[in-house]
Symmetry: C2
Subunit: 136 residues, 2 copies
């Protein structure tokens, strides 16, 4: 994607922390992979670099998704909702693993009569994904 | 769906406001329709009633999606992410309209070289959807 002017950043309704929630959806399958957060700098970097760059709330820094794991998300499309307060990314998920637990996506727990039950397989152990045990 | 015990509410990592972001995805198509928020009461009501009940941050009350518009969301599946801080609903979207603008979904703006551009049609005008001009 080439780059729109910086005005697109002003159209986003950043919350009190300067963040916006971002949904990553796998382009090929339509699977919802994860939800993360971006600040202005992260969204600008995502558009410039063409890969998902989030704001890590736990680490307080930009988080280039896949920087350790290699599980980079190439961005195919960015969308904004009616209120301007949520972003939707259509991505190509490299390695087929979005979750730091080694599963295809973060939403691997389904509500059943017995509560939340994990019903999706671990494709790769976190130990083999992370040399430094950093988060995805 | 029958009802799990109340413990499933404790597995959710509610934010400082007691809320969790909830992604609604259309079950039949995989389209991501919208993002909204729930508190404990809203999530409990969603499970009990089998339809999406959100917490309206703007109105400060429970918001039974479609209560005015009729655009109810029947819940087919509830999922929780790895960190327990995002919920994913698979829903049947009644009326085929999730957005209060009268579009199929809220993510109707796509980022282009000219900024965010609306590229999805208004299926029904808000005036004809809302008798009292309440939000969806």
């Amino acid at each position: 994607m080439s780059e729109p002017g910086a005005d697109f950043l002003d159209a986003v309704h950043w919350d009190a922390r300067g963040l916006v929630p971002v949904i990553a959806q796998e382009d090929a399958t339509g699977q919802v992979l994860m939800l993360a957060w971006m600040n202005r700098e992260a969204l600008a970097a995502t558009v410039t670099q063409g890969v998902a760059v989030y704001w890590s709330r736990s680490r307080g820094r930009l988080w280039r998704k896949g920087e350790v794991s290699g599980h980079v998300q190439t961005v195919r499309e960015l969308r904004l909702d009616c209120d301007g307060d949520t972003v939707l990314l259509r991505v190509e998920q490299h390695g087929g693993i979005a979750c730091h637990t080694g599963r295809a996506r973060c939403f691997f727990q389904r509500l059943t009569d017995d509560g939340w039950v994990s019903d999706e397989p671990v494709l790769k152990t976190p130990q083999s994904i992370y040399t430094d045990h950093d988060h995805a």
